[in-house]
């Protein structure tokens, strides 16, 4: 019999960290304030007491240095989980991620793998303004040699870490900061590893496909609910994996619904939404009854005041309107 508990996304991440640390001696967590402070978003709160300062390792403020050290430790046989507080500070570590982690296997002719997991919080919505609200998922999704995933549910928040640690290559886990307080059910007995290669249909529907990920899923589900009230049946797909993309699941849906809307918190120009839209056009052009719509973030550094921040971000209203446009309603 499987039992289930109601926990938060944050607790699910913490449980995954605890399970990983408990089950594999090679695993350690490293990052700014992951120790006594418990991490910027409290994901690792308490773990240093359980596992000690060697395995829950506070780092100095040195994103490039400790990310690179994570790469080296992975080469040396460890299974490091590097926590970069947020994607905004990950900008300081991109050289190590793109020039080293992503290339080592290839430029050594396949001699090494880099079994490194990097977790980071991402996204806007907490009124943290222009330097603390980036959504740069597409930057990472652009880079061969790394895998990028984004958990939107409680089971994924737990399961993706396990799967990422089992992956021989660098995996970036992008956790949306707005999700940490979300609550949901977690089944205790399930083998919680998840298939990192597959997108998931979060709500089935017939007339349009909404493709999204991360915090977008909740908004898309809300939009789908409202559309249902108006008699429109929309399917919601959660990409889950941002690199590689699961074209199969997306195309199967679009070939059925003939309409697609991509919801992406990235700035519109150069967004992951553009990639998904392009793939749909490339692979299902003749199945489409309307051009693919995008609902993205406005092209503005995220402003501080709530009304402006919310106006900049994708919202259910915008998603509803976009679906209706594809239906010419």
């Amino acid at each position: 019999m499987t039992t289930s508990r109601r926990i938060t996304y944050r607790e699910a991440v913490r449980q995954a960290l605890r399970e990983a640390l408990a089950s594999d001696e090679r695993v350690f967590l490293m990052g700014e304030d992951v120790g006594a402070y418990g991490g910027a978003y409290a994901c690792s709160l308490g773990l240093v007491d359980e596992f000690g300062t060697e395995r829950v390792r506070n780092t100095p403020l040195a994103e490039s240095g400790f990310t690179g050290a994570g790469i080296g430790a992975a080469l040396g046989g460890m299974r490091p989980i590097v926590e970069i507080m947020t994607v905004n500070f990950a900008l300081l570590a991109l050289d190590q991620i793109v020039n080293t982690a992503a290339t080592l296997r290839h430029m050594s002719g396949g001699q090494v793998s880099v079994p490194l997991v990097i977790r980071m919080a991402t996204g806007a919505g907490r009124q943290l303004a222009a330097q603390h609200s980036h959504s740069l998922e597409n930057w990472f999704a652009h880079v061969p040699g790394i895998r990028v995933v984004s958990p939107s549910t409680i089971p994924d928040a737990r399961g993706m870490l396990k799967s990422a640690l089992a992956d021989p290559d660098p995996v970036i886990i992008m956790e949306h900061a707005m999700l940490y307080n979300e609550e949901g059910e977690l089944e205790d007995a399930e083998d919680h590893a998840v298939d990192l290669d597959r997108a998931a249909v979060r709500r089935p529907g017939e007339q349009a496909t909404i493709v999204t990920y991360s915090a977008g899923v909740k908004k898309a589900l809300e939009a789908a609910g409202r559309l249902a009230d108006e008699g429109i049946s929309a399917e919601v797909i959660d990409l889950r994996s941002l690199r590689p993309l699961d074209d199969e699941t997306v195309m199967a849906s679009v070939r059925r619904t003939h309409r697609a809307v991509i919801v992406d918190e990235g700035w519109r120009t150069g967004s992951l939404a553009a990639e998904v839209a392009t793939r749909i056009h490339e692979q299902a052009f003749y199945d489409l009854d309307a051009p693919v719509e995008r609902v993205c973030t406005a092209e503005v550094p995220i402003p501080y005041p709530r009304h402006l921040e919310q106006a900049a971000l994708p919202q259910p209203e915008g998603i509803v309107a976009a679906v209706k446009r594809t239906l010419r309603r």
């Binding site: 943290l128 330097q131 092209e299 402003p303 501080y304």
Partner: protein
């Protein structure tokens, strides 16, 4: 706390009242911020400066209007010490269009170009190269200005810190680096983040004169800053001050403050910059009990007015969302 002649500080009654008044303004302003944060009027991250007021106030004494300041996300104190109107700063925290950054920045991004106050930079160490660049512009244009750059001891671990120390020393840039060493970077104590906790040494190794000062002593800070600013204006290149200080509040309003002992915090509070200066200045007869009362009354009024101003100010219309991403062409020409 003493005030010897060589400190270049003229401790008249007026000056003492001024120092105390400036520190008190910051303290009471931020207490009000904490209140309005709890009430939901201020959002996002709010980093209080309480306990560290002597740093900003002391250093700003050494600066002229021509000089520039670059600060961090914990910059309300610096903004007020620099002379930004309290109402504009509070309105900024409230996200109002009347805010100094038109509400776009919030607590972490206080800007005021007319005060040459260049933020409000929320990436740790990110403001340092900026300060070096402002100073480079001054040097290349033959201006004898100082750029004061404030940051925490946590920034010293970042590569950008060292890159900027080198650039500034190498090019003899007129920067006054002010490291406010409050012993913690969020929950990380200095001794677990630096192999050598002597922050001044990390500047000195670049050949930059570096001094460590008691940041709880506003007079000592002012004196050190005046010496440093004079040297910089004299063309001697950058100077570095490490101010030993402590924050009395949590890192931000999100921080449950679990990583340090209550007793440690309380011990520091007993020799906080305001209480210490007040006691000393009263004991030496430099100021009187009446001065303190007057200051508190004036400040209370100023804070109340600032809150009222911020409260009454309108939000920017949502139609303006895309404003100020790039510079309008008319402005540019």
């Amino acid at each position: 706390m003493t005030a010897p002649a060589d400190r270049r500080v003229h401790l008249t009654h007026a000056h003492a009242v001024d120092l105390l008044s400036r520190m008190t303004r910051i303290r009471r302003f931020e207490e009000a911020c904490a209140e309005h944060y709890s009430a939901g009027r201020i959002r996002g991250f709010l980093h209080l400066y309480i306990g560290e007021e002597a740093n900003a106030v002391g250093v700003c004494q050494a600066l002229t209007e021509e000089d520039a300041i670059v600060a961090t996300y914990r910059e309300h104190g610096h903004a007020l010490a620099r002379g930004l109107p309290m109402g504009e700063v509070m309105a900024e925290m409230f996200g109002k269009a009347a805010g100094c950054s038109r509400g776009r920045g919030g607590s972490m991004h206080i800007f005021s170009v007319r005060h040459r106050f260049y933020g409000g930079n929320a990436i740790v160490a990110g403001g340092l190269p900026l300060a070096a660049g402002l100073a480079l512009a001054d040097r290349m244009q033959g201006r004898r200005r100082v750029t004061a750059c404030f940051f925490g001891e946590g920034a010293a671990a970042e590569g950008e810190f060292h890159e900027t120390m080198n650039l500034s020393a190498l090019w003899k840039l007129p920067v006054l680096f002010v490291c406010e060493n409050n012993l913690y970077a969020m929950g990380t104590a200095l001794e677990i983040s630096e192999s050598n906790t002597d922050i001044a040494a990390h500047a000195a190794v670049f050949g930059m004169p570096a001094e460590t000062v008691d940041g709880m002593d506003v007079v000592a800070v002012e004196a050190a800053a005046r010496r440093a600013a004079d040297a910089i204006r004299g063309g001697e290149g950058p100077r570095f001050l490490e101010l030993r200080t402590y924050r009395f509040r949590a890192h931000s309003m999100f921080d449950p403050d679990l990583y340090r002992e209550k007793a440690e915090v309380e011990a520091w509070k007993t020799h906080g910059p305001i209480v210490r200066f007040t006691e000393w200045a009263t004991a030496t007869g430099l100021i009187h009990a009446g001065d303190v009362e007057t200051i508190e009354a004036e400040v209370a009024e100023e804070v109340a007015a600032a809150v009222a101003f911020a409260d009454a100010a309108p939000f920017e219309p949502v139609e303006d969302l895309l404003k100020d991403v790039t510079t309008p062409r008319e402005v540019a020409r």
